[in-house]
Symmetry: C2
Subunit: 229 residues, 2 copies
């Protein structure tokens, strides 16, 4: 039996690529769709922008509706404007990415019926995604890999207090390469925006590491003269 789908006029939508970091792995937030087309498929959280909301606001609303997450600092990274991206008609999609601390939120929980569930999936070994979401994801991943080297995005993925080893392991996960421990520490500390805390790591069965936090204030002071991206 064929499913009848209405034809859509030109519309725009947003898709969000939300990255998280957990158990030494970089992960991306997916939903399981509960709607045609691509019902039951995995997809990036995304939907149609309303006529009376800005695209930025729509991205926030849609993410909330599909996953329960709200008020993330989302950044636009590309707009996908090919003609045949959507089986039901012309859709231009403005894509966003954000990086968050997994677990910093309460559980993931779709608010609407468009998604059956929302879940984290490691970026390596992603399943096939609906629409052109695999391409959208790849582009976002490339972007954050590049940004990692010149913007302090790593700290958005880590808990507020973190060890230098955790920071390094995040860099290694995102860049897919090993880094030298001594050089990594020397460099990170040389920037001067990491604040060493009195506190130490807890609950480990070996020597506990010092905790640090990212001092956004100092960062801004140090890099205020640089050209922003």
């Amino acid at each position: 039996m064929e499913i009848h789908l209405p034809h859509l006029d030109s519309v725009f939508s947003t898709d969000c690529v939300i990255f998280g970091f957990e158990a030494g792995e970089l992960k991306v937030l997916l939903i399981e769709r509960n709607e045609e087309p691509f019902k039951d498929w995995y997809a990036l959280p995304g939907n149609i922008v309303g006529p009376d909301e800005s695209v930025d606001a729509a991205a926030q609303r849609i993410l909330y509706e599909l996953t329960g997450l709200h008020d993330l600092p989302m950044r636009q990274f590309h707009t996908f404007g090919e003609v045949n991206r959507h089986p039901q008609g012309r859709v231009v999609t403005i894509a966003y990415f954000a990086l968050i601390r997994i677990g910093g939120q309460k559980d993931l929980m779709p608010i609407t019926q468009y998604a059956r569930k929302a879940f984290w999936h490691p970026v390596n070994d992603l399943p096939t995604l609906a629409f052109d979401h695999t391409e959208i994801f790849k582009r976002a991943f490339k972007k954050i890999r590049a940004k990692l080297n010149y913007e302090p995005i790593a700290f958005e993925l880590l808990p507020e207090k973190f060890t230098l080893t955790q920071l390094q392991s995040l860099y290694e996960a995102v860049l897919s390469k090993q880094l030298d421990k001594r050089n990594f520490r020397k460099k990170m500390l040389s920037y001067g925006f990491l604040k060493e805390l009195a506190e130490k790591q807890k609950g480990v069965s070996y020597r506990a590491a010092k905790l640090y936090k990212f001092d956004r204030r100092k960062y801004a002071k140090i890099f205020q003269n640089e050209i922003a991206s």
Copy 2:
């Protein structure tokens, strides 16, 4: 007498920020509008995307119609999605930039009646522009300033054969700062992607400088392992 304007449904448009370099100055391509709203104002070349063309293709078509330029390597840099950008209704605009050699083309000449003329204007001291085009321009300018440091975009603005002094003057114009001649040359040449030609500059009333050209092949070879933007 009031002008009646039709209400538009949600549509998308493209705007292009085309940079050129002439007489030691960075310039941007503007049009003089011949249509409401903002009739007679200066603006970036832009218009509505058709239902059956990709956004990238639309950007090319629209630029051609308004200025006569075609087949430029245009790159998307931001999408403007606020609700009240356009007095006639909701318009989401995908913005592109490109860099070209002024004079490499025949004259600028609008093909359609939407623009009365197209012309180059120095980026410093821009006139007031229609819509939010000043903001769009600024964002593009910021982008190319940043890119100049990690992508070979300078060569898109220069003639095929150029002197190192011309190259330096371009860097100085875009970055708005003076650079040291010896260090600049040392660094540029150290990359290994500039090819020194046998030929020399002509028609100058002083010692003629050596000409160089950008060797795209070598560039690709040298930077193939780097993360692209």
